[in-house]
Subunit: 286 residues, 2 copies
C-alpha cells in the first residue's frame, strides 16, 4: 500500500500562469477527495506578491470540505506562514528547507542553516509537522548536491521530531541510483521518509518505483502532473497522481484511489488552466 499525498492544489498550481478563482481550487480539492485522496497539500502560506496563485490560501482553507480521515497540509516557509497556517486551521504543516544556500536564498530569502532554525520553531508549534528537503537531488544554480549535505539537514531536522522528511527532486534531475542511495542513508538514520519527484527529464516515475522498492511508501504527486517551482528556471510538473496510480496498480500495489476519477480530474484541471496537462493517462481515455 502506498499513500499518495496530493500536492496539485499547492505545488501543482503555484507555477501556473492562469490564476484560478478560489471556488475552482476548492472544486479541484473536492474532486481529489472524491477520487480517494486522504492527505493533501492544499495551500501555501507564502507572500502573495511572490506566489500570487497562493494569495487566497485562507479563503481556500475556509471553504474546503471537512471529512473524516482527511488531512489538510499547509506549506510554510517562516514564522509568519506558520501563524497563518495555524489560524486557517490546517491539520498539518510542511516546511521547506532547500539543500543549497543559493537556491534557498532565491526561494525563501535565507540560507539553509537559517531555514533549519525556522524548522525547529515550526516543529515546536504543537501541530504535526513534516519537512521537505528541496533540491535534494541537485540544484538549478550550483549543480550536484552532496549526499552528506542532505544527511546533515535530515540529522538536524530529526531532532525536532518531524512526522516525516521528504526528499524532493525539485528540478527533476534525479535518477533511481540516487534515490536508492538517499533512501538507504536516510533510512539508516531512522528517518520516516516521503519522496517528491518532478518529471522534468522523464525520470520521475522510474524514481518513484526506486523509492517504493527502497521502502518509501509515501509519495507526493499532483493530479494532472502540473507544477513546478517559480524560483527555479524551467521547472516543470510533479509526477502525475493518475499516471503514478496506474503504474502502482499495475504492479499490484494498492493506493485506495479511483483511477478513472483521477484521470478525469486531471483532464478537467487542464481545461480550467487552459493547458494540456503533462499527465498521460487522460489522453488515452479522451
Amino acid at each position: 500500500m502506498v499513500e499518495i499525498v496530493e500536492v496539485g492544489p499547492r505545488d501543482g498550481l503555484q507555477n501556473e500562469k492562469v490564476l484560478l478563482p478560489t471556488e475552482v481550487k476548492v472544486d479541484y480539492i473536492t474532486r481529489a477527495l472524491d477520487a480517494g485522496i486522504r492527505r493533501l497539500e492544499a495551500v501555501a502560506f507564502v507572500h502573495p506578491g511572490r506566489v500570487p496563485q497562493m494569495a487566497d490560501a485562507e479563503a481556500v482553507m475556509a471553504a474546503v470540505p471537512r471529512r473524516p480521515g482527511v488531512t489538510y497540509i499547509g506549506l510554510v516557509l517562516n514564522r509568519r506562514g506558520l501563524d497563518r497556517a495555524l489560524a486557517a486551521g490546517v491539520d498539518e504543516v510542511n516546511m521547506v528547507v532547500v539543500a543549497s544556500d543559493e537556491f534557498s536564498r532565491r526561494n525563501q530569502g535565507t540560507t539553509t542553516a537559517e531555514a533549519l532554525d525556522v524548522w525547529h520553531e515550526v516543529a515546536a508549534a504543537g501541530i504535526p509537522a513534516s519537512l521537505t528537503i528541496a533540491a535534494a537531488f541537485g540544484c538549478p544554480f550550483t549543480g550536484a548536491v552532496p549526499v552528506d549535505r542532505v544527511l546533515g539537514i535530515a540529522a538536524s531536522a530529526l531532532q525536532s521530531g518531524p512526522r516525516e522528511i521528504a526528499i524532493a527532486d525539485t528540478i527533476g534531475v534525479g535518477v533511481p541510483t540516487q534515490v536508492r542511495t538517499l533512501a538507504a542513508e536516510l533510512g539508516a538514520l531512522g528517518v520516516p521518509l516521503r519522496a517528491h519527484f518532478h518529471n522534468t527529464r522523464n525520470t520521475g516515475y522510474a524514481n518513484a518505483v526506486a523509492a517504493l522498492e527502497a521502502g518509501i511508501t509515501t509519495l507526493d504527486a499532483s493530479i494532472g502532473g502540473i507544477g513546478g517551482c517559480p524560483f527555479a528556471p524551467r521547472a516543470t510538473g510533479n509526477i502525475a497522481t493518475e499516471d503514478l496510480t496506474y503504474l502502482l496498480h499495475g504492479m499490484g500495489v494498492g493506493t485506495g484511489l479511483d483511477l478513472p476519477a483521477l484521470a478525469a480530474t486531471g483532464t478537467w484541471i487542464g481545461s480550467r488552466l487552459g493547458i494540456q496537462v503533462p499527465a498521460m493517462l487522460g489522453r488515452t481515455l479522451d
Copy 2:
C-alpha cells in the same frame, strides 16, 4: 554499457501526419550517427498505401551515409518486404510478430501463427534477422496478453536463430513487474533479448530501468520520443533516446552517445514535424 537501437526514423516517423521529404529523413539519420548511434532501424518495407511515411524506404537507404560500424535495420512484415529490404542493401532485418491475433490481423493481415511462419522464412534469408514480439505487454483490442503466449512465440522463433528477440510494449501499458517477469522467463529460454517501450502512460522509462536491471542491455528508443503504431488507437511515442541516455548516464551506465547532440536533434526533428516532441530533455535546454 547499453546499446540503444535508434528507431526514430522508422517507428518514430511512421505515425506522424507530416510526410517528410527523403532528404530530411536522411538528415535525421545522419544527425543520429553524428550523436554516436551505431545501430538504427532506418526504414520499413511495408505497403505505401498503409504507411505512407515509409513509401520512400528504398530512396532513404540509397542515400544514408555508410560508415564503418554502423548497422542499418529494415523492418519487414512479409516476403515481399524482405525482398525489398535485401535489394535495398540493409545490414539486418527486423520482423514483427504481434502477440494477439486480433492486433496481428489489423497490423499485418495475418494471425500470429501465420506471421511466425513468415518469420522462419525471413530468418532463413541469409542476413542477420531479429524478431519483435509486438503487444507483448497488452493488446489494444483484447487486453491482457498471457506470458505463456509470449513465451510460446519466442520458443518457436528461437528455432530460426534470431540475432535477438525484442519484447515490445507497443501501446505503452506495461509496468516494471511485467518487464521483470518476461525478462526472467524469456531469459530462461536462452533468448538474446532487446526491449522496446512506449511512454503512453508514463511507465516507459521505469520499464527501461527494470529491463536493464533484469539484464537486457539492448533498448530501442527514438530521438525526440516520437512514434506510435498507425494500427493501434491512441498509440503514442517511444521512449526518447535523449531522455533515456540522460537517465542511463546519471546511473553510471555508458551508451557511447553525445547527450547534447541527441537533445538538439530531438528539438530539430520536432521543428521539421511541426510538433513539440514528447522528449523532455530538449525543453530544459532551449
